[in-house]
């Protein structure tokens, strides 16, 4: 038997690593992967709490998060491809056309 808090701490570690990935990387695709990592960490916390409280709603919510993540990836990657076509880079530091 593994205490639920272990899963929650693991989820916190993964979420933090995802957030750091979003903050320090410059490649738009890898920033996107960091967002996926954060979503996944939140899903792990959902499933852990669903087991702790013995209700299925947490697992249903993970199902919805997965579908939203799939739609988000499709649109986000399409955006990245379009940006690459027009700007020939996906370095987020060089995408500064709106800078005053």
């Amino acid at each position: 038997m593994i205490p639920i808090s272990y899963y929650i701490v693991l989820s916190a570690i993964l979420f933090t690593l995802g957030a750091i990935c979003v903050l320090i990387r410059r490649n738009a695709i890898i920033i996107f992967m960091g967002i996926e990592l954060m979503l996944n960490a939140a899903n792990l916390a959902f499933v852990a709490f669903a087991t702790q409280h013995q209700v299925l709603s947490g697992q249903i919510f993970v199902f919805f998060v997965m579908t939203v993540a799939a739609a988000e990836v499709a649109v986000g990657l399409a955006l990245i491809v379009t940006i690459f076509r027009t700007k020939h880079t996906i370095d987020v530091d060089q995408l500064n056309s709106l800078k005053g």
């Binding site: 639920i4 693991l10 410059r26 899903n43 499933v47 697992q59």
Partner: protein
Amino acid sequence: MTTDLIFFLILAFVSVGAALGLLFSRNAIYAALFLVLNFLTVAIFYLFLNAPFLAMAQITVYAGAIMVLFLFVIMLLGTKKLKTRGENLWQRRLAIGLGAVLFGELFTMFFFQGRGSTLIGDLGSGFGSPEAIGLELFNQYLLPFEITSILLLVGMIGAIVLTKDN
């Protein structure tokens, strides 16, 4: 230390290691493969947590569909052209500091508020099975489920419209 705990710790080590690999790898392809490894370990955690349906959905949807899409786009754009300039050092230090603060807060919230100490009891064998998930989904969450299909349709059309050549 029970065998369960040892197994958990090894898997957690692999999972965090894969996340660190994603964080620090130079090559986008390697980052994507590290993320696949992370998703697979999380799927095994779902099996531990009485969620077999979600574990399989995790493998097929995340490790299968989503990461293949990522790899496809990386190969479409070409890894050579995806090289970026070096990161700013002060930004990296600031990000790691802020991340440490975030982790500290999450840890305090969950660990010291007395809610995380419960052991996982034995649930019924049907908990989290595809049958139970399906019953819950179609009895209580039918409307959100249908809205999900519209969301996926919108995502598909959006991706087609965005990448279409004018």
